[in-house]
Amino acid sequence: MSSQNSTASQMGQQPLSREDLAKLVAADIAPGSYVNLGIGQPTKVSDYLTPEQQVTLHTENGMLGMGPQAHGEDIDEELINAGKIPVTELPGASYFHHADSFAMMRGGHLDVCVLGAFQVSTGGDLANWSTGAPDAIPAVGGAMDLAIGAKEVFVMMSLFAKDGTPKIVADCSYPVTGLGCVSRVYTDHGVFLIEARDGGPRLVLREAYGIAPEELVKRFDFPVVIAG
């Protein structure tokens, strides 16, 4: 839970870029963790994981020990990640079928899952699978399994929607993916912790970027604790 990492402190003067955000999440993943990176922005985190961290990547379509994206001659249609992008295999990898793969996830064996989101509630509810638009073609994939499966769920997203309202909300207006499952929210303007405590979870601003913490918390119409 420490915010003492050089990447983050160097970046305190302005909002984080998408690359810096990925770097920050990567640095926060404990050495030796088993991690699932969701499709989209979270995939970028893998670029900043160091060999010394010895992080093992899980892809829910049946593999542990996934390596970087494959290019050129290394592309193999039968070795893909959950986003259906060709990837590579690292030493120590293993393959398993879909039921075993989701048992691994649902059984709570992954240490961290990093997901994108439309909204996160102050209680840790996640909305990331559907905007609820009536004409949209629905698709859920592994989102609901990922949401409830890992020991910790980190969300990566921009803090504010296009209309300027925060995407951390008292209650999700979009259809939820899972209830009370998110433990941290990494955004361009700040990192938030959702801490479990008696009497209900509380939202803590661990660090702000490009804005003073005191200013940032005023943007919410519910209490946000500034980490001491």
Partner: protein, 231 residues
């Protein structure tokens, strides 16, 4: 006992109109393209298809949907950048969709093969996909009751089969193959290669022959050529 047939057409000859067909594959990986092509040629229609996706581009399941041979799709992720045939059929109201979280899809198939009557899963609790389903709190956690998905037929792709139908798969093309093989009354497998009994190490068999009813082999050369072309 496993039967071996020479062509994909013979392999799918038993699929009847109205059947529930479990289709292996995650995207194109592990999708039994040749069996699906044979199913297209056979004219079988009014199918319920259980698969992770609902077809991509102009191949495999996408073509079955294009030809309106599928009445209903049970899947987790129909929407893709190239799922235009699904999109069109769905928007036209000519295709029913049951959307299932991917892990529940896998576990419901596993339950069918394993003789489990129903199971409580945490996935989907409190979401719209669990609406109307029985829920229960067990040791402080909330669960949804989910039921098995059984198939009349499974069409899957493996790497090798031996003389008694034991299968091994290749990399992430394994995906739904083993659970679908066990969840269907009749399992049809296309393999790249047939090998004699005793040439697969018994420790490494992924799907034992007891789950395999019909096998058809594509020659390894054809299969490799095709893979390179697709990549």
């Amino acid at each position: 006992m496993t039967e071996f047939v020479d062509t994909a057409a013979e392999a799918v000859a038993g699929v009847r109109d109205g059947a529930t067909v479990l289709l292996g594959g995650f995207g194109n990986a592990g999708q039994p393209m040749e069996l699906i092509d044979a199913l297209l040629d056979s004219g079988t229609t009014d199918l319920t298809v259980v698969s992770n996706n609902a077809g991509q581009g102009d191949r495999g399941l996408a073509l079955l949907i294009k030809e309106r041979r599928v009445r209903k799709v049970i899947c987790s992720f129909p929407r893709q950048s190239d799922s235009w045939h699904f999109d069109a059929a769905y928007r036209a109201g000519e295709l029913e969709l049951e959307l299932v979280p991917q892990g529940n899809l896998a576990e419901r198939l596993r339950a069918a093969g394993a003789g489990i009557g129903a199971f409580f899963t945490p996935t989907g609790y409190g979401t719209s996909l669990a609406e109307g389903k029985e829920t229960r709190e067990i040791e402080g956690r909330n669960y949804v009751l989910e039921h098995p998905i059984r198939g009349d037929v499974a069409l899957i792709k493996a790497l090798k089969a031996d003389d008694v139908g034991n299968l091994v798969f290749r990399k992430t093309a394994r995906n739904f193959g083993p659970v679908m093989a066990a969840a269907a009354s009749h399992t049809v497998v296309q393999v790249a290669e047939l090998v004699p009994s005793g040439s697969l190490d018994p420790e490494n068999v992924v799907t034992p022959g007891i789950y395999v009813d019909t096998v058809t082999a594509l020659t390894p050369r054809t299969s490799q050529t095709q893979e390179v072309k697709e990549a």
